[in-house]
């Protein structure tokens, strides 16, 4: 089975990095960032034999705490559904990593290495399909708990998540039209180029009227530059899907105790908590792959990097260095996107529930349809893409 081994290695790598390293560390980052923003010190007490490392041991302490807590199942709860609900919430979040490319395609002699677990032709649809399953974790958790707060939370969650799934899909249709693909690896390759910002105006003879530097202004062909409105709308939708503040209506401590996971304790609660943070990483990775050029280095296409390094190190090592550089670039972009989400989470207050639904159906849905229309118009007028 020479086919199976690379898949296992790539799966282990992405799960170890995203679920094993990123998710626990960002629980600490979240506490530290809120502390900085609110002029506090934040988590810094947990230590092993006096070694504190900036409070980075807190995630470890949290896990020990959650594992040793009493595991309570309320009276009248549906025991089986109460047990599986956290799993239904956590598994789709982890499974989404299967199609997200964290590097390009590299040629080592005869072997070709592509850094994605499953290079599906319908890649982004797979992510949407998987994400829509995650709704059940929340809905079932609230129902199975036999608690009115939980039920209200899960009713809110089901309506909110279905509504935002619609706009989430529509908001990136413009991006599909620009890149003419749904395959995430092809999108990454398409973003490994640059385009002249006002190039499409040349057909209309407007460019001559502009200052010279403006007409030669180059940008990497990233989704965020091609579809700025699409980026903002997609970010809003995925944050609403994630149910973290400011979209934490299903949970809202000030109204519903803790919403759908009121009756969860110990590691069962921990699984809900972890799946939220894993989703933060998934969202950051997805935003990177779709809008921020994925693994590509801006203004340095893969051929240029390998071509520049080959005379110094030889072809094999140059390709290897390029691979490492690309993977590092990808994770740097992921970290920036995680920071952005945290910043939003600690900046905006929670709107009312009707405002959240209005935003989706009355603002974002018409805007996303208009975005598709305008993108189509520009592509039609400018000829080929961009």
């Amino acid at each position: 089975m020479e086919l199976l081994l690379p898949v296992v290695v790539k799966t282990l790598f992405i799960i170890l990095v995203a679920v094993g390293a990123f998710a626990p560390v960002i629980t600490w980052v979240e506490r530290k960032q809120s502390a900085v923003m609110q002029d506090r010190i934040g988590a810094n007490r947990a230590d092993i034999a006096g070694i504190k490392v900036l409070g980075l041991l807190h995630p470890l302490a949290d896990v020990i705490k959650l594992l040793t807590k009493e595991d309570v199942v309320p009276q009248g709860a549906n025991r089986f559904l109460h047990l599986v609900a956290p799993l239904i919430a956590a598994i789709p979040a982890i499974a989404s990593f299967a199609v997200i490319p964290y590097g390009g395609v590299y040629q080592f002699g005869d072997t070709v290495v592509n850094l994605v677990v499953a290079d599906l032709d319908w890649g982004i649809l797979y992510v949407f399909a998987i994400a829509s399953i995650a709704t059940y974790g929340t809905v079932i958790a609230g129902w199975a708990s036999n608690n009115n707060w939980s039920l209200l939370g899960s009713l809110r969650a089901s309506a909110q998540m279905i509504s935002y799934e619609v706009t989430m899909g529509l908001s990136i249709v413009g991006l599909f039209m620009c890149f003419e693909t749904l395959r995430l690896t092809e999108m990454g390759l398409a973003q490994d180029q640059t385009f002249r910002l006002l190039g499409f105006l040349e057909r209309f003879g407007i460019v001559e009227a502009l200052p010279g530097w403006l007409s030669w202004l180059q940008l990497p062909m990233w989704g965020v530059f091609l579809q700025p409105l699409g980026f903002v709308m997609f970010l809003t939708c995925v944050m609403a899907e994630n149910k973290r503040p400011p979209f934490d209506l299903p949970e809202s401590e000030s109204e519903l105790v803790a919403g759908y996971f009121t009756e969860y304790s110990g590691m069962r609660f921990g699984l809900f908590y972890m799946s939220e943070f894993i989703e933060v990483v998934v969202i950051a990775a997805l935003l990177t792959a779709l809008f921020l050029g994925g693994w590509t280095v801006p203004f340095l296409p893969q051929a240029t990097i390998i071509g520049g390094l080959t005379p110094v190190f030889g072809a094999g090592v140059a390709t290897g260095l390029c691979l490492v550089l690309h993977v590092l670039t990808f994770f740097v972009k992921v970290i920036v996107m995680i920071w952005l989400q945290m910043q939003i989470r600690w900046t905006l207050p929670r709107p009312r529930y009707d405002q959240v639904m209005d935003l989706c159906w009355k603002v974002m849905l018409p805007l996303s349809l208009a975005n598709i229309f305008v993108t189509g118009l520009v592509i039609l007028l400018a000829g080929s893409g961009s």
Binding site: W122, F128, A129, I133, Y136, W143, A144, E165
Partner: protein
Amino acid sequence: MTAPEVAFYGAGALAVLSALGMVLHVRNTVAAAMSLVVTMISLAVVYVVLEAHLVAALQIMVYAGAIVVVFLFVVMLLNLRSDAFAAPRQRLLKAAGAALMLGVAGAFLTLVPRSLPSVRELPEGFGGYRAVGAELFTRFVLPFEVTSLLILAAVVGAVVLAKRRLD
């Protein structure tokens, strides 16, 4: 058996079992709805094995991800107790149902093996979003537009029904 065969028969068996589970769990509506979700996902796996990738994605996104969630939403709002289903025994109805099911199963078993098409080589890109989209907007554009009109009518009807109570 090859890996696709294992996936095909495994998912097929799971689809049948979970569909049975849905029917037998009818008194516990939430459990029945969750069984339906498992049926939908197993069907999606069958579609993937049959190379119908777009249909598989839509199966999960639309049926499992949206429609059954709305079922659950309604079930939870109604808060049905299991005794709501303790209807008087309707023997005649049950007998008619059993007869109908046997008839359908008999027709299926006699007709389908006779009309099974021979295996063909799949065209390039079969079942992908490009091929399905191209077919949908060329050969089947009229049915497609008529369907969208029907759905629009249903949406308007739903809005009218919901609004009437507010005024």
